[in-house]
Symmetry: C2
Subunit: 158 residues, 2 copies
């Protein structure tokens, strides 16, 4: 028994060291970053299940520079802020936050996913990580075809 | 005839001095200000003719402080940035800019309209002023009932 406990505690120490990528930091202060653009995804859209609602994209200063260059430097962070879209009385207004999606550029740390770390914070709760180790399948697979724009779908507008 | 011309040129000199309010400045750099909130106004909405499309509200630092206080200091500027809303394939995306609406707080200069100067820049063109001297009827009449929140409709959200 003692040997098993020792083995378990060794594993507990070792497992984090061999885990894939370092966690993507919560994007502190992103609501004061540059608002890039917005979009409403409605029922019937192929991405409705995952991203239905109204979303806003925000970019920190490094990411703003990256949009212009078409290539994003380490430290660039883009936030996909998804809120419920409430349709009533011929208007669409913003409802509760559904998820704070994050792309965080670090070419070395996230080399396996195009140099970007991906995470989603469910309901905007910084402790509720909804992507975790599934970034390759859950996020990067869809972003991969955007390789010519450094895996970023959005473009900066005036 | 000479007397008439002299009279006209005197008027030309005098009229600007007695004109109502000083022009509201174009809000330089507002796309980097704090994004307050957004909304889509669709056909059938009572404000569709004037404000149909997707709009984003931006606040400069003085205005952000004003939202929190419920009272806005001189120098506070709020921008209502209205873009066309393009509905297609179960999504609403942003189209061309329709107008950059501005509320600019200066309690003395704009005393007649609640301390706010109102202007609209058609198509975002800083030379195309679509409100001008009509702020009282075109803007303030609708804002007046918001007196308890310093004539501002929008509220700051997380």
């Amino acid at each position: 028994m003692k040997r098993m406990l020792t083995a378990l505690s060794s594993m507990a120490l070792v497992v984090p060291l061999v885990a894939a990528d370092p966690p993507v930091p919560y994007p502190e202060g992103y609501r004061d970053w540059h608002h890039v653009k917005s979009m409403v995804i409605e029922e019937g859209h192929p991405l409705f299940e995952a991203f239905g609602g109204i979303h806003h994209l925000y970019a920190n200063p490094q990411a703003v520079a990256g949009y212009a260059a078409g290539k994003f430097p380490d430290g660039a962070v883009i936030v996909f802020d998804l809120l419920e879209a409430v349709s009533a009385d011929n208007a669409v207004t913003e409802g509760a936050r559904k998820v704070v999606g994050v792309m965080h550029k670090d070419a070395k740390q996230y080399a396996a996913t195009g140099g970007w770390g991906f995470e989603g914070f469910g309901g905007g709760d910084r402790t509720n990580r909804v992507v975790g180790d599934n970034a390759a399948g859950a996020c990067f697979a869809c972003h991969a075809p955007q390789k010519d724009h450094d895996y970023v779908f959005s473009r900066l507008r005036d």
